[in-house]
């Protein structure tokens, strides 16, 4: 069985790439026997989802803020 470090790395990499079948299997098999990593798995997914949600709604300047910005910059 792989170590917690290796399982965690696979779960971290999952945020950025598609896992291979082998990686998925090794991680899931490890997590089956490891409560700590199951918790990390769950929280990782939640964190990832939350960040994705945040990114789908990025902060933007309003048009009045942009106008204000333009005015201020023109003053110089």
């Amino acid at each position: 069985m792989i170590s917690c470090e290796k399982a965690a790395k696979i779960m971290d990499q999952r945020d950025f790439k598609q896992l291979s079948f082998k990686e998925k299997f090794l991680m899931k098999f490890h997590n089956l026997h490891c409560k700590g990593c199951r918790v990390y798995d769950k929280l990782s997914k939640r964190l990832y989802k939350l960040i994705e949600k945040e990114k789908s709604n990025p902060p933007a300047l309003s048009s009045s803020e942009k106008d204000q910005l333009k005015k201020q910059l023109l003053k110089d």
């Binding site: 939350l50 960040i51 949600k53 902060p59």
Partner: protein, 185 residues
């Protein structure tokens, strides 16, 4: 203004302000401050326009100015930082116990869900801004700006295994920081 640089600065706000603002916002966790930093970035760039050698694109150049300003800000905040980390988390703790939340969970009005979403959002932002400087830089570069891992390693002068250690520690820290908020969902 020098003639050697034929850069049309009149379009800068339209072209770059949103990207700069988003970059600043995710690293400063403060809308007004982010606005001010975008403004200052434009000011500094206009002042230094003569010295801009066009080795890089205007966009890259503006970002490098903003980045420097943000790092300076982080350094200034370093001492005060520890206090700010759990502010939102503990605030919410006082306002509503999670038991109340759980029992009220069914039949909740739309507005309430909206509020909860925005609370989660601001908790996330606050937790991110509480990360140590280097972790924060690496984490936001990767998760928000979706930069290449290799590029991040080069920029921050770290090895690939360092990179994964930082990602993992930042995630673990954020999970701990978010835990209180997640109890409510």
């Amino acid at each position: 203004m020098s003639t050697k640089n034929q850069i049309d600065t009149s379009q800068w706000v339209d072209q770059y302000s949103d990207a700069l603002f988003g970059y600043a916002y995710y690293r400063l966790n403060d809308r007004e401050l982010a606005y001010d930093y975008v403004q200052e970035t434009f000011y500094s760039a206009l002042k230094a326009l003569d010295r801009f050698e066009q080795k890089s694109s205007v966009k890259t150049w503006l970002f490098s100015i903003l980045k420097r300003k943000i790092i300076d800000y982080w350094r200034q905040q370093e001492a005060r930082k520890t206090k700010a980390v759990s502010k939102i988390v503990s605030n919410q703790d006082q306002d509503t116990s999670w038991v109340e939340y759980v029992t009220a969970k069914n039949d909740r009005p739309e507005v309430e869900i909206e509020i909860e979403n925005s609370e989660l959002r601001s908790a996330l932002m606050s937790c991110i801004s509480g990360l140590p400087e280097k972790w924060k830089a690496v984490f936001v570069d990767k998760y928000i700006d979706e930069k290449d891992s290799e590029e991040i390693c080069n920029e921050h002068n770290i090895t690939s295994s360092n990179f994964w250690v930082i990602i993992h520690r930042a995630k673990a820290r954020l999970q701990g920081c978010m835990k209180e908020n997640w109890l409510n969902n």
